[in-house]
Assembly symmetry: C2
Homo-oligomer: 79 residues x 2
């Protein structure tokens, strides 16, 4: 089974990396992009066929390691 | 207009960061996740209302800065 986890910063949390990308795009002459926020994506492969067990394992992985839930949200998609 | 760009490593490109996450998940006792590959996600806000112009600007941003097209693929979604 394949799954994708997308981790993004919560609204209101400053994103200096995104701001740096905005500045770099302006320097490179790419116009029309007003704001950039960067996040992370994790493509997972899971062995079992049980969807509920897979979701539980992914949720544990997100809470323990993949996302810092103080400042980040995560979204799980089973593909 | 909002858009999301997802940048992932091409198939066959080694991902040491993903391997490190796999190892860390095993150490943390999260079972059932066989493989992890990490990518990046960029949430963009664009000023104009012209979808074609927005896509062109995002494509330029990806080719020039957001993705290293030698080893990475990117996918653009207009939201």
């Amino acid at each position: 089974m394949k799954a994708r986890v997308t981790v993004t910063l919560k609204t209101g949390v400053l994103d200096p990396q995104g701001k740096a990308i905005e500045g770099a795009l302006k320097s490179l002459g790419v116009d029309g992009i007003d704001s950039v926020r960067q996040g992370k994506v994790f493509d997972l492969e899971l062995g079992g066929a049980d969807k509920a067990a897979a979701e539980a394992a992914i949720k544990a992985a997100c809470d323990k390691l993949l996302a810092n839930t103080v400042v980040e949200n995560y979204r799980i998609e089973i593909l």
